[in-house]
């Protein structure tokens, strides 16, 4: 071994002094310092644990659709709203008749609004919907809410997506594209957006005015209105079909799909027919269809820390829905099994789920997402906290 030269290195004496030398350096260091970490501070701004807002204004778009302008609730400690990406949502928490409900709501405004201290969400009435009817009929200006940080990844990626985005929307599915269109107009998003906006009647095209305004001002946004239950020469009639897609798509496109469950099913079939690669098809939060055979009533026991609570849960109801109704504030955000926030351990019982987003190892140890999990027997569930 040719390591005689090692003798010229520091050697034994230095070795014995390592400890003392380190101490010396520490002793020489000032105890005063600025322990502020820029990235950690920015992380708190971009991903606050929660945000408190108040309703500053309510804009009625028709009897069944209202936009709510939210501003920071300074009295509850929120001074600024987190910035977001067009296409993201917040989860809003409401208490109704002893139940605690959270719902994902798309931010339907430009990210610029957040910097000015404003978010906009739009609520469409859902028949028998506890939360939507509460918002449309009960919520007044000045109401206070707790919301999450902006979440979700139904967002344009300049790395993954084609520059031409063909947005396919029906009903409330238009909301993320309002945000994208405004962001393009504000120069925050660099893509060409063509929206095929399907609705039953002209009256349902509640964002037409806003969209027309943007398309007038920005050459990068185009909107095609499609009416399924009303004929008018100025509009496309029928539903979004292959012909319409081929007519309005550019040479290379990414397809962003947002709307009702049946709309997804229909559009997905069309895109499959057109042989569009998976990478060019993005979906907003979307709940797969599930066939539930029984609506039997089961018992659901929820363990949380050292607390235990038992309630009823029907076979047609998710575990999360039962917990919401019973006022259990279980963690949740997306309600379609993709965000993973409600991950909980199934201690016992049989369940049915449409979940495709459980980690491989989580499956082994019986973790489930209660937001997309239905009981098929009595259940014991351990919440994460």
């Amino acid at each position: 071994m040719s390591n005689k030269n090692l003798n010229h290195l520091h050697g034994e004496k230095e070795f014995l002094n390592l400890s003392r030398d380190r101490e010396k350096i520490i002793k020489k260091t000032s105890p005063k310092a600025n322990f502020e970490y820029t990235a950690n501070q920015l992380a708190k701004k971009l991903h606050p644990k929660e945000q408190f807002v108040k309703v500053a204004q309510i804009i009625s778009l028709n009897d069944h659709v209202k936009t709510f302008v939210l501003q920071p609730d300074e009295s509850a400690g929120t001074l600024k709203l987190a910035y977001f990406k067009p296409g993201q949502y917040i989860s809003i928490c409401v208490e109704i008749d002893g139940g605690i409900y959270s719902r994902p709501m798309t931010l339907c405004c430009s990210p610029k609004c957040a910097l000015k201290g404003e978010y906009r969400i739009t609520v469409y009435r859902v028949e028998n919907g506890i939360v939507s009817n509460f918002f449309l009929d009960e919520v007044k200006e000045g109401f206070h809410f707790k919301i999450s940080a902006p979440l979700g990844d139904f967002c344009y990626s300049s790395i993954r997506d084609h520059k031409n985005v063909l947005a396919l929307a029906n009903g409330y599915g238009i909301l993320p594209f309002i945000s994208m269109a405004e962001a393009i107009f504000d120069d925050l998003l660099d893509c060409h957006l063509t929206i095929l906006y399907e609705a039953k009647t002209k009256e349902d095209l509640v964002f037409k005015e806003k969209l027309d305004d943007i398309t007038c001002k920005s050459k990068n946004v185009t909107v095609v209105y499609v009416l399924s239950e009303e004929d008018d020469n100025e509009y496309e009639s029928g539903v979004i079909d292959k012909k319409l897609i081929l007519q309005f798509k550019g040479e290379e496109n990414s397809y962003f799909v947002s709307g009702s469950t049946s709309f997804y099913a229909r559009i997905n079939d069309l895109l499959k027919e057109l042989d569009i690669a998976k990478k060019f098809v993005r979906h907003d939060l979307f709940r797969g269809e599930i066939e539930l055979k029984n609506d039997e009533e089961f018992s659901l026991t929820v363990l949380c820390g050292e607390d235990k609570c038992t309630m009823k849960c029907r076979g047609s109801e998710t575990l999360l829905q039962a917990m919401e109704k019973n006022g259990i504030a279980a963690p949740n955000h997306c309600h379609v099994g993709v965000c993973g926030f409600c991950r909980s351990k199934l201690i016992s019982g049989k369940v049915k789920t449409i979940d495709e987003n459980i980690r491989m190892a989580d499956k082994v140890y019986n973790y489930v997402h209660p937001c997309v999990t239905y009981p098929e027997s009595d259940i014991i569930l351990q919440l994460p906290n």
Binding site: L9, G11, E12, S30, Y37, L42, S157, A277, V338
Partner: protein, 511 residues
């Protein structure tokens, strides 16, 4: 109010291992974790049809069943080895150097490595052999020190590890020069410095050589179901043995009494009391924000002030809609370097424009990790200083991270001549801000404190006991004495558990 034997802040690798060892010894433990899964960054996440590992690229010290490494033995001892399926990484690494347009491909195995180096740099053989001899001695000496901790006997070291003693205080560069390794061979061999995020003129030879030896000599593995498989197995085993893990429970402060740590308080003001508090959160954050000022000794502030933050992580996770081999991705690990000068590159890596990256192709070790006809790529890199922090703002954050990621992906494509951009079906990007948020890493420094000068691991280990400034408060994780890395943190957790158990026994004897 229930009192715990040990309360852990964070469910990272060290804390999980330490807690499992303690519950198995009959201790009552509580882990408080801010996220909803165990592991810290040893976790996974799903995008579309892909499950990505958040941080693991290779697990060392596992070895094979016939020749198990220390980590595997630890997992066996904790009775979790059988529950985790490991895949061996088939190829070592493939380096591309952009400024010279050179490529180097290395196989595993010391003999193979030396032969290959001789091919690339004729007449390097003797010095590279010497390097591995020294590396083995350093590795063994380090194991002795880690095992004996406070009871190291200098005579034993001097007798059993005479070369180690000579070089214990030297940098990688000093030792490689002393053994007269040709410059080019030095540069190629030390491209691995990226693993430590510390350049070779200040990085301890002992640390570098021990890890590098392990990397080349024994097999590298990855778990089948991502690092989450290990984290979850540890967590489930803790639960099975009566331990408690509470998720979504960020600790806000450490409760003090008579100068000692006695418990913790959550953000929701819930309090827990314990005999010992183990913090996975960095000392800098604990001393500056989690303990009332009057309890923090000046020495503690001097210590945290004397330390430098290690590399701030930047990772890109890609799900491609093509089979890896079909697009030319034949190796498991690629290292792309702008140049092989670590001092220069370390400085450049403070700029967001650098493109020094490590890229792993998960399918080349774990073929079924993604659906047929797809593959998973993980890019990791870091910024050496606050270059990223200085530029990033709330408004430019989303664009900036895409811009950096795009440059890194293009850099990979240019160096390897392999096209990947058109096949990206899913992409996620983690920045220092992501790591700061997810794991409380200071400015995203997933490498912990920088291993450099007198903050290399030997001085850290020697002074570990002296640097406990608050009684009943211990630190673990990548900011601990063993520095970052999967094997390092699991093993450190076990060492900490043994120390806690022996302290207790010692205490009983006193009584």
């Amino acid at each position: 109010m229930a009192k715990y034997d040990a309360i852990f802040i964070g469910a990272g690798n060290s804390n999980l291992t330490c807690a499992l060892r303690l519950v198995k010894s009959g201790k009552k433990v509580l882990i408080l974790e801010k996220n909803n899964v165990p592991g810290g960054v040893a976790t996974s996440f799903i995008r579309g049809r892909f499950e990505f590992d958040a941080s693991l690229q290779e697990l060392m010290e596992v070895g094979t069943e016939e020749n198990p490494g220390v980590l595997y033995k630890l997992f066996q001892d904790l009775k979790i080895a059988d529950q985790i399926r490991f895949f061996h990484v088939p190829t070592c690494y493939h380096i591309y150097v952009k400024n010279t347009d050179q490529e180097y491909v290395f196989p595993f195995g010391i003999r193979n490595f030396i032969d290959k180096m001789e091919e690339y740099v004729p007449k390097s053989r003797e010095s590279v052999e010497t390097f591995f001899h020294l590396a083995l001695e350093c590795r063994n000496a380090l194991k002795y020190i880690e095992k004996k901790q406070a009871n190291i006997r200098y005579e034993v070291l001097l007798n059993d590890y005479p070369q180690f003693i000579k070089i214990a205080n030297s940098s990688v560069e000093e030792v490689l020069n002393a053994i007269e390794m040709p410059k080019k061979a030095q540069e190629i061999l030390t491209a691995f410095w990226m693993y430590f995020a510390s350049p070779i003129h200040t990085l301890s030879f002992v640390h570098f050589a021990s890890v590098f030896y392990e990397y080349i000599a024994t097999e590298i593995v990855i778990p089948k179901k991502r690092s989450h498989e290990i984290s979850l197995t540890l967590a489930e085993e803790i639960l099975k043995n009566g331990g408690r893990i509470q998720y979504l429970s960020p600790v806000q402060s450490i409760l003090m009494e008579n100068g000692q740590a006695i418990g913790v308080q959550l953000e929701n003001e819930e309090k827990f009391y314990g005999n010992i508090i183990v913090s996975g959160v960095a000392p800098s954050l604990v001393y500056s924000q989690m303990i009332p000022k009057e309890y923090v000794p000046q020495k503690a502030l001097q210590l945290i002030n004397s330390r430098i933050l290690g590399g701030r992580g930047f990772s890109i996770y890609l799900g491609l809609n093509q089979n890896a081999n079909e697009i030319g991705l034949a190796d498991y690990q690629y290292i792309i370097m702008d140049s092989l000068d670590s001092k220069r590159e370390y400085e450049n890596m403070n700029q967001i424009t650098h493109s020094n990256i490590r890229v792993t192709v998960l399918n080349n070790a774990n073929p079924s990790c993604s659906p047929k006809g797809t593959c998973i790529l993980q890019f990791t890199s870091f910024f050496s200083g606050d270059g990223f922090d200085k530029i990033v703002t709330e408004e430019n954050y989303f664009q900036l991270k895409e811009q950096i990621a795009k440059r890194m992906i293009e850099s990979f494509e240019n160096a390897t001549d392999i096209l990947i951009m058109p096949y990206i079906e899913e992409i996620e990007i983690a920045t220092p801000v992501t790591f700061a948020r997810y794991g409380n890493y200071l400015d995203g420094s997933i490498f912990g404190y920088k291993v450099t000068g007198l903050d290399n691991i030997l001085p850290r280990l020697f002074n570990e006991a002296n640097e406990i400034y608050i009684e009943h408060l211990q630190f673990s994780g990548s900011y601990g004495p063993n520095a970052c890395g999967y094997a390092a943190t699991y093993l450190a957790g076990d060492q900490l558990a043994n120390r806690i158990l022996s302290l207790e026994e010692g205490g009983k004897e006193h009584e």
